[in-house]
């Protein structure tokens, strides 16, 4: 990166630079405009939302947000989403890290097996999982509980987490662990005190992914929870009715759901890109 001047050839360097920035700016516009419209609509009053031609300059109101946040159920759904997101992330990282460590250090399966399992489980559409899990959870008394939802999310995210962490753990020099063993650590102490702190960047990438999937997921949450345990995306979808959609409030809810992942993006874009492209390009 950064050696743009080396590539483009002698002639037409300027032309390429213009095209380059023009394309990038156009893409930014098309990608950001819909998000901006949501954000902007959430600060409008009804008459501004329904006005044709659209209003672009107006005095923003926070009425939609206060309305949404005051609804007693909304805070419950927000709590549910946070609990489900955070708890499934913690369990996925701990168990995923342990499994990846076993696979790196004790060689019974190679990376090939993990990547195929990851791919196979990634192929499983959530809708396909929803039907049998609904039946089994009803039988096991896990239905309508946050625990049940967390269990599915952990299972869904484990293969990917193991895959990502495998790469990081494989890079740790064995001597470090051997030194810890000589100092009297048992295998569990070696893992939690030596290995985990060393793979922090990998854990960060996996954490963002797991949290985002649990936070954004819809169909399993719709099927496996009730009106007490449902998460924000489900609550928002049920707020949509065929007639008389309250777009201001809906867009405020949408913005609140979108905010945490967007913030993560700005904090850790590098890790996210590593995760997104893992498997396609050496990252």
């Amino acid at each position: 990166m950064g050696d743009g001047t080396m590539k483009g050839g002698k002639l037409g360097d300027n032309k390429w630079m213009v095209i380059h920035y023009l394309v990038l700016l156009l893409m930014c516009f098309f990608l950001l405009a819909p998000i901006f419209v949501m954000f902007q609509t959430s600060f409008k009053v009804e008459t501004q939302i329904f006005s044709v031609p659209p209003v672009w300059i107006f005095f923003p109101t926070i009425q939609n947000y206060t309305d949404v946040l005051v609804m007693d159920r909304f805070s419950r759904y927000l709590t549910n989403s946070l609990i489900v997101g955070v708890v499934s992330t913690i369990f996925t990282l701990t168990f995923g890290g342990m499994a990846a460590y076993a696979l790196v250090r004790f060689k019974f399966m190679g990376r090939g097996v993990i990547s195929i399992t990851t791919l196979l489980l990634r192929m499983l559409p959530p809708a396909v999982l929803a039907v049998p899990v609904f039946v089994i959870w009803s039988d096991w008394n896990l239905i309508d509980k946050r625990t049940g939802l967390i269990l599915v999310y952990v299972a869904m995210n484990l293969p990917f987490t193991i895959w990502i962490l495998y790469g990081f753990i494989a890079q740790i020099p064995k001597e470090l662990e051997e030194a810890a063993v000589i100092d009297g650590c048992n295998p569990y102490q070696v893992f939690f005190r030596v290995v985990l702190p060393l793979i922090r960047p990998g854990l960060a990438a996996a954490a963002i992914f797991t949290f985002r999937i649990a936070w954004n997921e819809f169909i399993l949450s719709l099927v496996l929870t009730n009106r007490f345990t449902r998460t924000l995306p489900v609550a928002t979808s049920l707020f949509l009715t065929d007639h008389g959609i309250q777009w201001g409030k809906i867009m405020a809810m949408g913005t609140l759901i979108a905010l945490p992942p967007l913030i993560f993006t700005f904090i850790a874009a590098r890790q996210i890109i590593t995760g997104l492209t893992a498997g396609a390009v050496k990252g």
């Binding site: 990166m1 950064g2 743009g4 001047t5 590539k7 630079m17 394309v23 990038l24 930014c28 990608l31 950001l32 998000i35 419209v37 609509t41 006005s51 044709v52 659209p54 168990f95 499994a99 460590y101 076993a102 696979l103 004790f106 990376r111 990634r122 192929m123 559409p125 959530p126 809708a127 396909v128 999982l129 039907v131 049998p132 609904f134 039946v135 096991w140 896990l142 269990l151 952990v154 299972a155 484990l158 193991i162 295998p187 819809f218 995306p233 979808s237 949408g254 759901i257 979108a258 992942p261 967007l262 993560f264 993006t265 874009a269 492209t277 498997g279 396609a280 390009v281 050496k282 990252g283």
Partner: protein
């Protein structure tokens, strides 16, 4: 197989079993790899492998949601036979395949063209990359909301600005012909950056010597792209396509919010059809049969894609 036994006694069984292992293992170090693997294997076994196997069993029964498990009726492969006689399943399959093919081709072509245009100068790209991944991070439900609002026939911005440039206002999501294209556009918006970023990373890792040599030999920019860059990128393109193919079959939320499969069945992808069969028509056995059918379709398409695009090369790029 530990998890199979534990699976019968429910989640509490998992935990006791695991604690027992922990105690044992602190004495015998040789067991430790299994202890490290056990929680992950048990959870994946209990909450994804077991449900998939269970779904095969469920597909052999006629059983309604909300009735007692004992009232189920064993009907063998009849649910599968119904798939082939029920026109709605095939309509759904058609919608799913059309959707997948359209987004795959559009996103691939757009992503590659944009990456090639931008590749020449990469200064400041990291800032742009952050912006490009924003749409992918947003919950599909929210993406559905945004586009449903934009496509609104009365006050939607899309109709308003189309009218400004002289295009007739369209019904979009209420039109049987335009609803699917409208959803495809939303998917292209969200996922083209994914292909773009992967291809761009691939382009930057190409050996500059080959491209320099071709340029010295007098190849045009187009010849270099077509004869050198694209063939060298093939493994990267294959994996990107595979990942998008799998995702295209998972799409449900955006459609759930934008049209709920309508008008008619014009946007009812198989995932949505499965949901409706199970939780609206309450036919759980039938829904399981369609689920397994969908899994087979995805598997076949993935294998075909991998065979068509030289698996040996793909393997190398995945390392």
């Amino acid at each position: 197989m530990v998890w199979v036994k534990a699976g019968c006694s429910g989640p509490a069984g998992f935990f006791t079993l695991y604690l027992g292992f922990m105690k044992l293992a602190s004495r015998i170090n040789r067991l430790s790899p299994y202890i490290f693997l056990a929680p992950a294997v048990m959870i994946m076994g209990g909450a994804s492998l077991y449900p998939v196997l269970f779904s095969i069993r469920l597909s052999l029964y006629d059983w309604s949601l909300g009735t007692d498990w004992a009232t189920r009726e064993f009907i063998g492969l009849e649910n599968y036979l119904r798939i082939f006689t029920d026109p709605s399943v095939f309509t759904s399959l058609g919608v799913t395949l059309t959707f997948a093919a359209a987004v795959l081709v559009a996103e691939l072509v757009l992503g590659i063209i944009l990456a090639l245009l931008v590749e020449q100068g990469v200064r400041g790209l990291s800032v742009f990359r952050t912006i490009f991944i924003l749409p992918m991070m947003i919950a599909p439900v929210v993406v559905g909301l945004i586009w449903r609002y934009l496509y609104d026939t009365r006050f939607g911005l899309i109709n308003y600005y189309l009218q400004k440039i002289g295009v007739e206002p369209q019904l979009w999501l209420a039109s049987p012909d335009l609803a699917l294209p409208a959803i495809i556009i939303a998917d292209i918006w969200q996922w083209t950056p994914f292909i773009f970023i992967i291809i761009l990373a691939g382009l930057q890792s190409l050996p500059s010597s080959a491209i320099e040599a071709a340029r010295v030999d007098g190849c045009s920019t187009f010849q270099i792209i077509w004869n050198i860059k694209i063939p060298l990128l093939l493994p990267v393109i294959t994996v990107a396509l595979l990942l998008r193919l799998i995702d295209a079959f998972r799409v449900l939320e955006v459609i759930f919010i934008m049209t709920f499969g309508g008008p008619g069945l014009s946007t009812e992808v198989l995932s949505l059809h499965i949901y409706k069969t199970a939780f609206l028509s309450q036919r759980l056995g039938m829904a399981s049969a369609i689920s397994n059918f969908l899994l087979v379709v995805i598997l076949i398409l993935s294998v075909v894609l991998l065979i068509v695009a030289n698996p040996a090369k793909t393997e190398r790029s995945a390392e």
